[in-house]
Amino acid sequence: MSSPASTPGGRKRGRNTNPPTPSSEDPTSPPSQRRRGQDSSTGDLMPMPTSPATDVLSPAAPQDTSLLSSPRPSGGHELPLDEGSPTRTLRNGAVASESNAGQRLVIWGTDVNVGTCKEKFQRFLQRFVDPTSTEDENAGLDLNEPLYMQKLEEISVVGDPVMNVNCRHVQSFDADLYRQLICYPQEVIPTFDMAVNELFFERFPDSFLEYQIQVRPYNALKTKSMRSLNPEDIDQLITISGMVIRTSQLIPEMQEAFFQCQVCAYSTRVEVDRGRIAEPAVCRHCNTTHSLALIHNRSVFSDKQMIKIQESPEDMPAGQTPHTTIVYAHNDLVDKVQPGDRVNITGIYRAVPMRVNPRQSNVKSVYKTHIDAIHFRKTDEKRLHGLDEEAEQKLFTEDRVQTLKELAAKPDVYERLSSALAPSIYEHEDIKKGILLQLFGGTRKDFSQTGRGNFRAEVNILLCGDPGTSKSQLLQYVYNLVPRGQYTSGKGSSAVGLTAYVMKDPETRQLVLQTGALVLSDNGICCIDEFDKMSDNTRSVLHEVMEQQTLSIAKAGIICQLNARTAVLAAANPVESQWNPKKTTIENIQLPHTLLSRFDLIFLMLDPQDEAYDRRLAHHLVSLYYQTEEQMEEEFLDMAVLKDYIAYARTYINPRLSEEASQALIEAYVDMRKIGSGRGMVSAYPRQLESLIRLAEAHAKVRFSEKVETIDVEEAKRLHREALKQSATDPRTGFVDISILTTGMSATARKRKEEVAQALKKLIQAKGKTPAMKYQQLLDDLRGQSETAITKELFDEALRALADEDYLTVTGKTVRLLA
């Protein structure tokens, strides 16, 4: 039973006559008394969650009439129920003393007094304000007004009688009430239902609801991983996270059986009591025995569904298999989740003994456990709202935060972290720094109002270089470090595997969208090895992802756009298997420049081939083989700390550009453009400026700074220059030339091409009126004329350029002039 109050049969609608003053709450004590009597016979292994709900609620109906029948409070002496929270008593001093003044009538087996509890909850609803709320549920509400009263209003307008209550709010408002909610949810939640309905109908006496308002608590602070559930949690309110792996068919569960006498057609209804129906043996009307038959389609059923959830892979210790738990969803919670969803489930943990044989009293000494779901909260659903930071919010303990902050305060934190990254890989400091910044990422900016949409915050990095320079190892390391990392190899992945594909589910015959590596690594890093070996088709998919950060899909009737805010870390080998220093990056790796320009940093991982390096490398490698684990630990940061550090920074730090930093960025950009302009080349485009900003922001994140300062810009500049120096140096001139990356050809090369074309044109014109020439002849002539060597390729290009000008055509071995 999701919220126990949903038992059909409308009770107490117009209870607004009931005066809401605290003193009038006293009459609610009879229900608790009554419950006490019932409960003592059933014991505490209660298999059905439904029964107590009705028990508590139904007696509340005759409240008005029984107003004076309950024992009056003896007044005077105070018996504070809640010794634990003096602050609460202080705050609500007057009211509390009055309500507690009565009797200590509590529900059997608990310390819950229905009256007090109800009143406390109503006070919570009326007064709770959370000005700092950032939850998406509260979007559109006035944060300075009582939050839940606004929700009640919403209910009256929308007519959806469900009230989600954040347990954290309850806790901050009244710790004792929260404790009771956690420990005795079976008793407290119906009380809450009662309270909220009273309040609602008092406020909106004329509204009509399909059924009563149900309170659905969520986010019980006692959030547990599935692994840490233990027998002490039985019958308590818990919130666990996991992934739905299977859902059952809808199961109709009988709530009320309808019997009809075969003789006299007299009918009677029997409520289901703990999963069993007491079939009436005798017809009360005609006194015939065994004449009553069950009429199925007049009985009342409720929906029920079994859901299996499995631990999320992140919560698991290494080397173990994930645990699964059964969850039962009832009524409108049925079909709320689908297999594959990541959810937070709030519910009551149950254990039921297993009977070996219904006709035998032998019992298997094992309990079956399940969770009766009260509230589902999809964790990935929120990605649609763009509030994903919330979902990833990892709970950091105070100590942890402290250590992280201490670490952040160290002046050399940047160096420390970068050296902690993949310690087994030697040197390549700048590359590691680049990857470190990639792990942190920039600040996400939203310009959708001005029409540009989201700005990319992720840093993309390409590593290229000789085989055997541990590129794959770096990728593997990053993949292992980030929670949402994906690792694919360019050779083995298809466009479909990277993006998404539509598949027919073998069971349900439904079309389902299966997401690929890029979508799966949303908010993470997608590591693509052997980037160069990827088919062009596949690579073209990356264009959209790497700048717009979305994936558009149109297939099999499904048209959608998925978020793929992933950083790409790619590794590519040179075409000739060894890096050819005489060629440009483009020529070496043969990737389209449109794609290359989308990488913020392109690093070359080359074998430096100098003695000092060799020596350090040798030392590093040898030490790998003889140092013990502990020695290594001392030298480097623990991977777990690094992980937490990154997670913390990504979640909590959103640096903004400071004034000086903006100035510095502008200067840097102008400088970059100037360098090129002197030689007639462009060495920077706006994309480079964006890269700089991202890198500077990431660097500020590393320092846990909310502000991007000049030092961040300096480092971003340095790193960017370093990467450029490596990848965008024109091998012919030795200058940095960004156009190698943006147009695939350096400016000098382009100039040279033009010169040759002009020379050729002049040569042809000098020849006078010859409509056709021999190809070889022309090449020899040109070679003879020119001072510099002219290769055949260069000549071909020149010819092509002239052909483009419609000056000539080339057919086979002859060149014809066009008039």
């Binding site: 039985i234 992934m243 298999t321 032998n362 298997k364 000494s365 993949a422 055997g468 040798a618 684990e629």
Partner: protein
């Protein structure tokens, strides 16, 4: 104090005695004391050999509720379960209430009072354990021989049981007269690895019917390797279950429970209850079958004490106490160089007279992932032996030799059909809620022998590509990504992969050596037929087996001086020709040097070993040069 037989035959007597005694004193910690008691008992000299083992004694010979041991491998971990740790029963006649202990039991006694205040709910974890995959026959035999447990068939055992006719009733009813032969024939085709090796091994009287459990093929026992046999077991763990990991090798001491009530449960479910209670039928029939198989086929074992096994070599003292072990190591250390010589000679003979290949094979056989630096496993040494002759099923012969040397191994013929059809990577089956095993779910230090000579031209389908990728991952990173449908999970492993191929293998490898046979192809058949005879000298074989296992357990270090000289060497080598040696080569040379030292029984690197490592690497490389252009698999 109970006598020896009491604690083995009636461990409940001990447990319940302690439980009863604890009732007067609630803080006595009887649970810990009970476990301590059994631990102490087992420490006594040879006490553990008195405990009957599920591995070599057929289940129907074992007394229910007695102490047994099981040498096993954790194949899957089920969800934790809550059980009644303490409960109260009411005698229907006298209404007298008695407190009872529910620990180490599956079923409670009659008349449980569910409403009792004294019920204590406790938690335990279930592991699905199977015998160690790929364990070679000599290991099983040896363990069985060392056991001193003499079991008498229990009185309830009737030779022509109903159970057997259940699975073989159509055609085999008359076979009761000579069941042994029949079953061997029956098991034969299932296990290709079996019928080469142990044709000669004498089968024990108690061992013969043990294949009985596996022939019950209607119940998939989920063994990682095809053709495996032996009992599988649901092990209930009562404490510290987090310290166990999937794929661990364990020796479990526990109380055997084969209560028929458990099977009754399963039957009842199918027949009647599905209509009565909708909550019951929601676990699928498959899940029921997997999680509650009949106790007669999959017994329950309630763990009292478990020991994680470092190795499963019966010739070595089990690593119960480290002092014992180091004494043993020290004694064998001195012999190692001489044993190594013998082994080298033997393997040279086996490898058709190629001493260098034999040397590398030894290094491979003692390799072991000893540490992981972030993602990089150190110490692995995957060997690609190329140039294997394809005549006279040489590669299979070679495997048989290796099978006799190492405790566990598996032969995987990389035929196209195998690659396209076999399940290598374990996959989670959500319907039955279990991890369906695959051939790469292996215990540590298992030798995986990939025979690439079986590969022919053809097309790999999706499964094939996935399998080849999985093998590649296994070799490069020593990890297997288990398929959990919605995500993958990475399980580190420690498997020695040896690839036999004609040309260079399509799989990556740490080291490739091309076999140079000294035997003319025409004489190969003849040579091979004489070769096989050698392996019968059992004492020599045992020496080899001890040698290989010990070399793996040794510690290793590099002194500062040697570090320095290694560094110098590297720098010098690079100076001469930077192309000739890369960081990767240095990695390999360091591994070779390490393994070379260990194979000599030296626990630290000496200058000589380093030079020798350099030397054999140079020899190997020069040999590679000659075969450079054999096929297109070069990088």
């Amino acid at each position: 104090m109970p006598s020896t037989h009491d604690w083995i035959n009636d461990p409940f007597g001990v447990v319940e005695g302690m439980f009863a005694a604890s009732q007067s004193d609630p803080n006595s910690g009887w649970e810990a004391r009970a476990v301590e008691f059994f631990k102490d008992r087992l420490k006594e000299k040879d006490a553990h050999t008195l405990v009957p083992s599920l591995n070599d004694i057929p289940m129907h010979y074992l007394k229910p509720n007695s102490l047994v041991k099981f040498r096993c491998f954790i194949q899957d971990m089920f969800d934790p379960e809550f059980y009644m740790g303490v409960y109260e029963t009411v005698d229907p006649a006298t209404q007298a209430k008695t407190l009872r202990c529910g620990k180490y039991k599956d079923v409670t006694e009659c008349g449980v009072d569910f409403n009792s205040k004294n019920t204590v709910t406790a938690e335990r974890q279930t592991f699905y354990c199977v015998p160690i995959p790929g364990e070679n026959p000599w290991v099983k035999e040896r363990y069985a021989n060392s056991s001193q447990a003499r079991v008498v068939p229990s009185t309830s055992y009737v030779p022509s049981r109903q159970k057997r006719s259940y699975e073989e009733d159509d055609d085999m009813d008359d076979m009761d007269t000579q069941p042994q032969k029949q079953r061997e024939a029956h098991a034969g085709p299932q296990s290709p690895t079996e019928h080469h090796g142990n044709g000669d091994c004498k089968r024990q009287e108690t061992e013969a019917p043990s294949s009985q459990t596996t022939s019950a093929s209607h119940l998939d026992l989920n063994f990682p390797l095809p053709g495996e046999k032996g009992p599988s077991c649901l092990v209930k763990v009562y404490k510290d279950w987090d310290s166990f990991k999937l794929n661990d090798m364990l020796e479990v001491y526990g109380i055997l429970s084969v209560s028929p009530a458990l099977s009754a449960l399963a039957d009842e479910k199918d027949a009647s209850s599905s209509l009565v209670d909708p909550t019951e039928c929601m676990e699928t029939a498959e899940e029921q079958r997997v999680h509650c198989p009949p106790a007669s086929l999959v017994p329950r074992l309630h763990m009292l004490y478990a020991k994680q096994l470092q190795h499963n070599n019966p010739l070595l003292p089990s690593a119960a106490t480290s002092e014992d072990n180091s004494a043993f190591l020290a004694s064998t250390l001195s012999e190692m160089p001489s044993v190594r010589e013998e082994l080298l000679a033997y393997l040279t003979h086996v490898l058709l007279g190629d001493a260098l290949a034999a040397e590398y094979l030894i290094l491979h056989l003692i390799s072991n992932v000893y540490v992981r630096r972030d993602v990089l496993p150190l110490g692995k040494f995957t060997l690609n032996m190329s140039g294997c002759p394809t005549v006279a099923s040489y590669t299979e012969r070679l495997y048989q030799i290796i099978q006799q040397l190492v405790p566990s191994s598996h032969y995987l013929g990389m035929s196209l059909q195998n690659m396209n059809q076999m399940r290598l990577v374990p996959k989670k089956d959500y319907v039955a809620n279990r991890l369906v095993s695959g051939a790469l779910q292996l215990a540590k230090n298992t030798s995986l022998y990939l025979d690439e000579t079986q590969l022919e031209q053809g097309q790999l389908d999706t499964t094939g590509v996935r399998n080849v990728t999985a093998l590649g991952n296994l070799i490069s990173w020593q990890k297997v990504d288990y398929d959990f449908n919605y995500h993958q999970m990475e399980f580190p492993c420690n498997i020695n992969v040896l690839i036999a191929s004609e040309g260079r293998s399509l799989l990556p490898s740490d080291c490739q050596i091309h076999l140079q046979t000294q035997v003319a192809p025409s004489h190969l058949e003849e040579y091979l037929s004489t070769m096989h005879m050698l392996s019968q000298a059992s004492s020599q074989l045992n020496k080899f087996r001890i040698y290989l296992s010990v070399a793996r357990l040794l510690d290793y270090s590099i002194s500062d001086e040697v570090t320095k000289s290694v560094e110098d060497d590297f720098v010098d080598m690079r100076k001469d020709d930077p192309q000739s040696i890369s960081a990767e080569d240095l990695h390999r040379m360091l591994v070779v040097a390490r393994l070379l030292s260990l194979s000599q029984g030296q626990t630290s690197l000496s200058r000589d070993s380093w030079l020798r490592a350099k030397h054999i690497e140079a020899l190997r490389r020069s040999r590679m040069e000659q075969h450079k252009c054999v096929n297109g698999n070069e990088p």
